[in-house]
Symmetry: C2
């Protein structure tokens, strides 16, 4: 990744992020950080209000100072976009003219296609309060607008850069649902496992007289199995639950005793047999 | 929209945003603003480090102070999630256990499905430096993680809330490519219009001897038409270009004159006829 060496040719890993007359150095820093979060590194500043490089920008960039150090400053927008083939302008409001308007998802994909084809692209972001002028917008190929709540439409530039950088990152992913790490595989357990669990549980309940009166047993078993089936437990989960049932089934609560009583459970009782009449069915 | 009236029942327009032990009131304000940008309004704070309500939070919220005013404070996480049916926990790092991991797009869609079905949902965000504890994560149903650059993985909470709120907004849109406003319809012009343009242009060029030598005319016309076809000009664009050709064709540059010369163009010349021999073909 490009470090603090200004003499190495800058490797752009995607669209150039171009800020037009940014007012606050802290915003420049936050933009750099948002870019780094999603794999972008090429920052261009057109006529920043405050001197640049700038310590406040570097501080706000947190660990993304390589983006700050690699940022280029231009006196005017036309100079900043000379080497680009395609340029998006971000805008919150409708503009006259012939320009197509895209949402960020579509814009991300279009940028990715051009990047893959070897084209240099860029995205323009305007001033903190005023955005881009119509003249600046006219230098762009197309517009991007964010699907904000019209009652609260203003995004600050670091947020706008974050959203576009995020969509850029997503556009390069095989699948939108990919994540850096996955949870365990959780497909439902095989019926053999599930039915083994039912048998285990139902037997432990039966000997305790749970399925009473006898006339209701069938429907009670049915309901219990429905609940435990709909949950869609995975193999590992069923194993865990069988351990729970075993604990409840084999052990009893410790009887309160005087001091000196050993910690922990009583010895396990043998698995209760039907002969223990508590579970006897009544007609 | 819920205003500053704390006595009105709070209408949640989507998942509750739950911040666990937020440290900086400014971050709470920026979270409120990010929520408002994308149509969320229900903010819950678990044991915020600084007294809340808080003027710094309100100031950072900018115009989203209705979110600040409606925010509820809880002493512990369990209390903050009692009324919810489904809870996501945001996390940057892998966690042990049985929890499914989703990306933000998928999480947004899952939240939308449940919202449509009338279920109350929430999203947990952890402390600025330390995120969520394993115990806090265990109260959630599933995890969400953002597709960040592993070298620069840390998002601040306002950014994480922004991304999830954005995906929430998108999940409710008919189509991901919808935008609040559109550019003009830009389907390519009918061939009739395009060919009319070609005829107009080619005639104006022909009389000026552009298509020379005669043996090259056919290929020159072919190439010119290819260029003007591939551009895919729309009806309105062709009209504009025909006006450009007309201007170039009918008028000449103003001759430099002394003071008093009228501004603007000379009188238009009649459309040049083939008789004006400049355009005569040469074999």
């Amino acid at each position: 990744m490009a470090g603090t060496d200004r003499h190495r040719p800058f490797i752009a890993e995607g669209p150039a992020i171009i800020l037009v007359e940014p007012q606050l150095p802290e915003n420049i820093g936050m933009v750099a950080r948002a870019m780094a979060n999603f794999g972008l590194a090429e920052l261009r500043l057109v006529n920043p209000r405050e001197e640049f490089p700038n310590e406040k920008a570097r501080a706000a960039a947190s660990k993304a100072d390589h983006v700050i150090d690699g940022a280029k400053v231009y006196g005017d927008l036309a100079s900043a976009v000379q080497d680009l083939s395609f340029l998006f302008a971000t805008t919150a409001r409708e503009r006259d003219g012939f320009k197509q308007v895209r949402g960020p998802v579509e814009a991300g994909r279009m940028l990715r296609q051009r990047f893959t084809a070897g084209q240099k692209t860029g995205i323009l972001f305007g001033r903190e309060r005023f955005g881009l002028s119509n003249e600046e917008v006219s230098l762009a190929d197309e517009l991007v607008t964010f699907p904000v709540n019209p009652a609260f439409a203003s995004l600050n530039i670091a947020q706008a850069v974050l959203l576009m950088s995020y969509e850029w990152m997503k556009s390069g992913m095989e699948s939108e649902t990919d994540t850096a790490f996955r949870g365990p595989q959780m497909e439902p357990a095989h019926k053999e496992t599930l039915h083994g669990f039912f048998n285990h549980l139902e037997e432990a309940l039966d000997v305790r007289g749970y399925f009473r009166p006898a006339a209701r047993k069938e429907i009670m078993v049915h309901n219990l199995r429905s609940v435990l089936t709909r949950a869609g437990f995975a193999e590992a989960e069923v194993r865990l639950l069988r351990g729970v049932i075993t604990s409840l089934d084999y052990f009893t609560r410790k009887h309160p005793r005087g001091s000196g009583a050993p910690e922990g459970r009583e010895k396990p009782k043998p698995m209760a047999k039907k002969a223990k009449s508590e579970g006897d069915a009544q007609e």
